[in-house]
Symmetry: C2
């Protein structure tokens, strides 16, 4: 029974057991070059034998790095958050970094100071910004001022300087609108996401492009301003259904809002999807659990954030990045909430 009551092995112990100097051990730990294969093996053996694990505190102190990165988010969707965390953890685990999670309220500018205080306090080496925080240039500037590296997970705007990973929201929005069109819908309503989130505009553009490409006009009365949440989605859907010529299908910019539309339709006794088709965006858990199950779009959030974390860590290690920016593709998940209009 290996009761770990013995004191932690240090780099000295390893050096002694391997019969080399402290510095050599340090070299193999940090994968520096200029170490003979045979000595490298000796050291590895000693590390194994002693179950040696370098002390983060000592490394941090000596190297003035913390090997910590922060994941910043301001997103009401818990499934989005956990998927992002999953990606970040995966990368951090593989790269030997620790992850600090940092929820924050993107709206209160006075709190950006508070946020920075926390980040400085924990001495993180870098930060991952997820939407809508990645839309905030001021925050990025402040981070730069504090010498905290950062990477953005953001919709593709095409004009970003720093590290970022993107997702082609516009294209996905266009595709799912085309799906509605292909089923024979021509009056398609759209419920916008929160006005402060740049993705909302991207998804609107996709919607518009799909219509235009098929020769349809964009009818502004079919477009309602939502805020990504269930309640706003329900309200907007009610507005649309109250129209003298209501749409036969609705594309909501989030699943939460799409659920709201579903409920609004149910409450009016509409047959779904026959009398109203609905599609969402996010592939949240409720998309699969509502009735009828929602057709929606899935972003590879975990992969995006994982990739972002690796980009960031590479930067921290001063490795030249392969690509300063990479783009991921969304995927349509077609379920039961769409049919041809009756």
């Amino acid at each position: 029974m290996p009761k770990s009551s013995e004191l932690k092995a240090t780099i000295y112990d390893v050096a002694e057991l391997a019969g080399v100097s402290l510095k050599t051990v340090s070299r193999v730990i940090n994968k520096e070059p200029n170490v003979r294969g045979s000595t490298r093996d000796k050291v590895h053996k000693a590390i194994e034998q002693l179950q040696y694990q370098p002390s983060p505190s000592a490394r941090g102190l000596a190297g003035s790095k913390s090997f910590l990165i922060a994941l910043l988010y301001s997103n009401p969707s818990s499934s989005y958050v956990t998927r992002a965390q999953q990606g970040a953890l995966e990368a951090c685990g593989a790269e030997g970094f620790g992850l600090l999670i940092q929820p924050c309220d993107y709206q209160s500018p006075d709190r950006v100071g508070e946020l920075l205080h926390r980040l400085k306090e924990s001495r993180v080496d870098g930060a991952i910004l997820t939407p809508p925080l990645s839309d905030n240039p001021q925050l990025q500037q402040r981070l730069a001022d504090e010498n905290i590296a950062c990477v953005c997970v953001a919709p593709r705007t095409g004009e970003q300087g720093g590290l970022s990973v993107c997702c082609d929201d516009e294209r996905a929005a266009q595709q799912i609108t085309e799906h509605l069109l292909a089923q024979g819908h021509s009056r398609i309503g759209h419920i916008l996401g929160h006005p402060d989130h740049s993705v909302s505009q991207q998804r609107l553009r996709g919607y518009e492009r799909a219509l235009l490409a098929q020769g349809f006009e964009v009818d502004r009365s079919l477009i309602q301003q939502g805020r990504f949440d269930f309640v706003s989605g329900k309200q907007c859907a009610e507005e649309l259904l109250d129209l003298s010529q209501p749409p036969t299908a609705i594309f909501a910019s989030s699943d939460d809002m799409a659920c709201g539309a579903l409920v609004a339709a149910h409450e009016r006794g509409l047959k779904l999807p026959g009398q109203l088709s609905v599609v969402g965006f996010d592939d949240s858990p409720q998309a699969a659990q509502c009735w009828p199950a929602l057709s929606t779009v899935r972003q590879p959030i975990s992969e995006m954030v994982s990739s972002a974390a690796r980009l960031l860590i590479g930067e921290l290690r001063k490795q030249p990045p392969d690509d300063i920016q990479s783009t991921f593709q969304c995927q349509l998940h077609l379920r039961d909430s769409v049919s041809p209009p009756e």
Copy 2:
């Protein structure tokens, strides 16, 4: 514009500016006794002026503590996870600790070794165990072996030695069953949670006690074994609805399963809640977003975990705990999924 290009202030700088010794500053920072009030003030002033923040690395190295605690979970519900994180973060922020999140698979016993490796690697001082990990005595033993303090967030079993916070699931389950009874239901089905989670048994007991207290028998054919997730809930509901004498109401041990029951009923064209009343447990986001909106039970997860974290940190500071164990109350959230049977 305070560009933080100047080097970080150290404890030396503070000592010099305050005109005291390094050790005295240390005392003030760590709230040790034996410091005159006036000198304490001087030091605080200097800290303020220099915007001094102690280095976690240096503190960790010198004191062989990391001021980090881990939040361990193995829970498929992202809303549960984020609520738990919220509570943990709140406490850690207030107490000056860092939080490392640690998802894990409770089923694979070989991975408990892997988990411990990660915890040792990050040198956490303690860990918070959430259900179902808090049901695993082996894990707790291993943590103790590694000298990692721990606190459990668990259902009330009444016979726990260590630190823990509990929630009275049984009582809440009884209450929501009583709610169904009060509406006139007598044939009430129950969908059990995952068999490995001790809460499942607690909630079953609450269900049984409510029936027994009103003079009803517990009909085993009305009890189905679920696994907390949507799919199992739907399957179990189908079994129940296939009965020659189907129940007029279903109490599912989770909202995910309750949603499954809702969908099963919708698919059969049942009128809800008229022909089938359904209640869940958790107050997950979908509870409010499905149709009809679910009546359910809300645990104060954030508060429980926050309290657990404070308990743990107190232990790490060797403060005598006020109570080694505290119990929280659940709350019923009544919505639209219950009516008298038609």
